[in-house]
Point group: D3
Chain length 136, copies 6
């Protein structure tokens, strides 16, 4: 009985899209309003998908309380109410695009989940723009 279980979480953060190897003009032309030097922000909504075999003794794929705690400790505490560019190690060098944030969160959670589980992450930057890693 192979199932996927999903858990949603969220965090609010500020960010700026800027490539330090480009001129300011290039950055403005490419990233538009997202290049604002004073930052802007989002309510990020996160969907974590864990896939594997249900344990017939418990009826659970994974204890959702534990998964919730991992997401809180590893993702929410790290990024919530933060400036991704200035306050986090992960994006001190990496451009905090939705694609990169989704990929970084995948890698953080991957380390804290048993290898028997497959993992997927979807990150909503707004209700109209979102990203999934790995691609389905």
């Amino acid at each position: 009985m192979r199932v996927s279980v999903f858990r949603r979480a969220h965090f609010n953060a500020a960010h700026r899209l800027h490539n330090p190897n480009w001129s300011d003009q290039q950055n403005r032309a490419y990233y538009g309003k997202c290049n604002n030097p004073n930052y802007h922000g989002h309510n990020y909504e996160l969907e974590v998908r864990v896939t594997g075999e249900v344990d017939p003794e418990t009826g659970y794929l994974i204890d959702l309380g534990k998964l919730k705690k991992i997401i809180e400790e590893q993702v929410e505490e790290r990024f919530d109410h933060k400036n991704l560019n200035l306050d986090t190690e992960e994006f001190s060098e990496l451009i905090p695009s939705a694609e990169h944030i989704c990929y970084v969160i995948f890698n953080i959670l991957r380390e804290h989940l048993d290898d028997k589980y497959e993992l997927g992450v979807r990150l909503y930057e707004t209700p109209r723009n979102y990203v999934e890693y790995p691609a389905g």
Copy 2:
């Protein structure tokens, strides 16, 4: 022209997570609040996905009115406003976790759908916790 068509439905039910082979203490420790002997409940939201070839004469993969009726008769009438543990055969022995409920609904619908269709079921226990069977 191979497409997936989705139909949503819902039902409200009470349940309790409890493994009769364990002590009460073990059950409380593992299932926490979900082990409440007097039950708690949810608004279950169901998403049924049917996949196959579109009939070029009708433009339909499947008549959604018929699919809606199958879901109403086979799932909603069976589980809506019920205590899953006490009022249903399906969960008289099987622990009614979201994983198991999703799997049971898949099997019920599978019997009532033509073999030419592929089937998938997603069950939302809350807007933040949900399950998909089979895994994508």
Copy 3:
């Protein structure tokens, strides 16, 4: 600067609508599926509205962190994952209709809020059925 501030919360519970002064037949006829003797349940979604004057020094009407904590301690801990009829004092005698639950939550919160605030409560029993007290 008089504003209303809203905070949402939720809890999952089982309940049964049953008037002990009526016959079983009367109860079934009036409450229909909601009279199921084995209970059914809901994901209750709660919207708390607090109205008053903004403090110009802080920019806040009320510290939402404190309001969130009051709701968690006074409403969620009391009702979440409970059987309203069996596990709560509030509904040992009172029929736990959405109207009554909304009214009870209003009275609980009213006691824990400073008198300078006006209070309103909206309770969603399902996304299609909800109640507001006091009436607008």
Copy 4:
């Protein structure tokens, strides 16, 4: 770093399901209310999924501003506030079922996207009925 990026859009349109090779009676029997000769309508909600490799220099899979513009120019301007049967070439002969509309939009967008991207389209006819092409 292979990801999927999603963008949502919407348009409002009128349509009628009717097969000109059938009698009026057959059409009414098969399509029911959707066969109304005077049309009915929907708020169509569109989810476009683009899959490929993230460009490490920009952190983007695709410039979402450009994708948004393609969807506006190629889908919204073509179908928004239109009668699909009478006002569009695409459905002058093809029955405008949700399945067909989804397939037509896929083909329109496919022509305007670089071949290096994989494409998927989900079309919501109502919040409870939707279609995905190609099937996942």
Copy 5:
């Protein structure tokens, strides 16, 4: 114990905004795309609010099953999958703007509700545009 109870419903319809006393040019200039002579359509979402005193014997303001049935018979059957301009008496002369549709639905429901109840209607033409009558 004075409360408001809300019930949601929906219907899909086609319409056209056109004032027969104006020239075609005036109509196009004023109503824009909504003046399309071939109609366009919407998923109308309806929120009905009923206000009054809770009956202490039942815990109900109004039997929501009965309210649901009134809405189905009086509103959904009348307008669902219809062309409001061509298929309904109500809008044969009256321009079917969201404001007017909301007002018409209020008057239909008012006739079928006991005078002891206060009534309010909110009509969503899209998730971003909606109307309430009477004004709060």
Copy 6:
């Protein structure tokens, strides 16, 4: 025929809650994570309510296309992808709490609306926290 018409819009912004008359320690104690000196951000969702008499000739209370344009030009262009504290005149001195942002938007829109209309503004800072001005 007095109705309210609603229009939704949104913008994404960064902000910081900080009272310059307090010590850093007082600010951190009072505003918690919202006092982060490097800012954090939100997807602000705005609901504008306009109330008045429907024009019987047009069926409109107000041309929603014009209202949409006023909101875009006066609110979205001013605040979208901005740092409210650093990039806007409105919050160079005023603490950008949700209460104050809602009040400021009300005053901006009030200047651009005909006096015959009553105005209300609701601002969602997150889907669980929101503010309304003036209070209902």
